[in-house]
């Protein structure tokens, strides 16, 4: 079977199959960007590990941040099956030539932000990622299956932490509301620009990389999340939010903000990239030591 036949019959493309160059490049770009998002995403939450309000919350947060590192590794592994090297991809990230999700350029200014990230950011990520488990490229789909299984704990722990705050003191309730105010719109932007303004969407759909449009997934997220906010007794920061009998319709998204964060002008873009570059540089001696040890103990042929 050639490439198009596999795609037309909803089959899966595997690493050494023939595939169009543009398909390969699209996947490398998307999987790399996804992997980068996972490891950059460790920073906003890692920021709160030492200040988690209890040992229980701390253990949960450590496990979650460790999962994000693992997810990055699964995805770099999937990208490497397309003939690129992980080290190259990291170099491109560090040089600012490959992107990661704009959501991680926002700061976590209170503990409630950690809760809101689990609830909203991981919730949005799951909405985006579940369809990717049926992506036409086998290794990416398999990595996503693994990730989705682990991700649902991320969302639940966040929602649980939000629940505790929203049933707490007036000050804690205010913390929860403030966090929802900060993260709601950036979470909606995670689904990407409207389909009409998303140049690569149609091709990705035709290739079976993407299964649903940005707007449809965003709508599903709004429909799923608004009742959860109501349960928490919190107000979604969107005065135009309305119910049309079938769906919760949100107001206009400020796409200029999205464009600015994408361009590097979000609140934390520089900090996130510099921290990553520093972490990579700080780890150099570990990589060198492992290499030296391995070459010293390599059996002589």
């Amino acid at each position: 079977m050639d490439f198009q036949q596999v795609i037309d019959t909803d089959g899966r493309i595997e690493p050494r199959d023939q595939m169009p160059d543009a398909y390969r490049q699209t996947l490398v770009r998307q999987i790399a960007q996804h992997a980068h998002s996972e490891i950059i995403g460790m920073q906003p939450e890692g920021n709160w590990i030492t200040r988690a309000p209890s040992l229980r919350r701390k253990a949960i947060l450590v496990a979650k941040v460790q999962d994000e590192a693992g997810h990055g590794l699964y995805l770099y592994g999937a990208a490497e099956t397309l003939g690129v090297d992980r080290a190259e991809l990291l170099d491109l990230l560090h040089a600012g030539r490959q992107k990661y999700s704009t959501i991680f350029n926002y700061p976590t200014t209170s503990w409630a932000d950690v809760a809101a990230i689990g609830w909203l950011v991981d919730g949005a990520a799951i909405m985006n990622q579940v369809p990717l488990t049926r992506c036409s490229y086998g290794p990416y789909a398999r990595a996503m299956t693994r990730i989705c299984k682990e991700e649902s704990f991320h969302q639940r722990q966040g929602f649980e932490a939000m629940t505790v705050l929203s049933r707490g003191t007036a000050a804690q309730q205010q913390m929860a509301q403030d966090a929802l105010d900060r993260w709601w719109w950036p979470a909606l932007m995670m689904f990407g620009p409207p389909d009409a303004a998303s140049p690569n969407s149609a091709q990705s759909m035709a290739w079976g990389i993407k299964r649903f449009g940005n707007d449809e997934l965003r709508q599903r997220f709004v429909d799923a999340t608004v009742p959860q906010a109501e349960f928490l007794g919190l107000t979604v920061p969107d005065p135009a939010l309305s119910w049309d009998g079938e769906h919760h319709r949100s107001g206009e998204i400020d796409w200029t903000e999205f464009a600015e964060v994408m361009k590097g002008n979000g609140p934390c873009n520089r900090q996130r990239l510099e921290f990553r570059q520093q972490a990579h540089a700080d780890g150099a001696w570990v990589r060198e030591a492992a290499q030296a040890y391995a070459s010293k103990h390599r059996p002589v042929a």
């Binding site: 199959d17 023939q18 999962d67 592994g77 490497e80």
Partner: protein, 89 residues
Amino acid sequence: MLWEVFVRSRRGLSHTHVGSLHADDAHLALRNARDVYTRRQEGTSIWVVPAAQIVASSPDEKDAFFDPAGDKPYRHPTFYDVPEGLTHL
């Protein structure tokens, strides 16, 4: 160095390929595999194999390579008619 990782999820099952990882030696590869692929008790045994050591059939010639089995339906039990009413066949 790239390693392919295989995990036996529980006794009685074969090792199954779960993904790959980087490590400079076999010992580190095993430890990394434990941390990356079995954080939730997904395994009771792990194999790591240098990716370069795996010999694979080529997808380009897969039709010709697997062809010989294509015209031998008589290797399957469904090839044979079982007379109505008979069992244990």
